[in-house]
Symmetry: C2
Subunit: 109 residues, 2 copies
DNA sequence: TTGACATTTAAGTTTAATCTTAAGTAATGG
DNA sequence: CCATTACTTAAGATTAAACTTAAATGTCAA
């Protein structure tokens, strides 16, 4: 059975193994087997994670002989980027003197 | 029982209700009850979501009389921001002529 | 064509997340 | 002190995620 039927990018990146796979794919296309290597996990499990990433639109596959080559499509991460940036104004401005001044003047209620 | 014992910000933002709560908190402190309102969910469930956010360091509580006031701490989102920005170079440059040129010259491997 | 390889899919188990109801706690107002 | 408000915590049910092993699929190479 398919472990998930999700298309949500936030869910897709919630699992560390899936994040690691995306990072690996920044280097370029990789065969499923290569992506599996660093994980102490069955092949099938990896395949299922790849499916979650595919459903979220974060990777695409093509067949190359007996390999399946996965390629990154980072675009759906823009949704995450956009969402996080909505909070940028609320990040602490650790090394920013103006920020400290404003924080002191207008303290955290 | 605590529904989660997680401290992972990626997991914390994976649930749409939790994301909605964070967005609501951008406006400023809110009592737990106010945060619960827009969801067709039991009070207890909301409380549990708030706990996940708290464990991830995304919110802090203080008691104000019989209310519990939750306040946003966006800082842990910087980890997400940082992570996503690692992929910025891979975003499609839809409206960017240079980008299209480079994509054509140096096609998606 | 047969067998090995590189996977995916199916089936089922285990673990974890999410929810509910009910009981517990802490502060306020009468 | 007692009831009410505003929650949290506990307990347990339900659903979903994440694994595993085994079988199926498609390709290559002899």
């Amino acid at each position: 059975m398919r472990p998930v039927q999700d298309t949500d990018v936030f869910h897709a990146i919630a699992h560390p193994a899936r994040r690691a796979m995306l990072i690996a794919l920044k280097q370029g296309e990789r065969a499923a087997g290569d992506l599996a290597e660093p994980f102490g996990m069955s092949f099938a499990a990896i395949s299922q994670h790849l499916r979650v990433l595919e459903d979220a639109g974060l990777v695409a596959v093509r067949r190359d002989g007996r390999f399946r080559m996965y390629r990154l499509d980072a675009d759906p991460l823009r949704e995450v980027e956009r969402w996080v940036e909505e909070f940028a104004a609320h990040f602490e401005r650790h090394l920013d003197a103006l920020g400290r001044y404003l924080d002191a003047k207008h303290p955290k209620r």
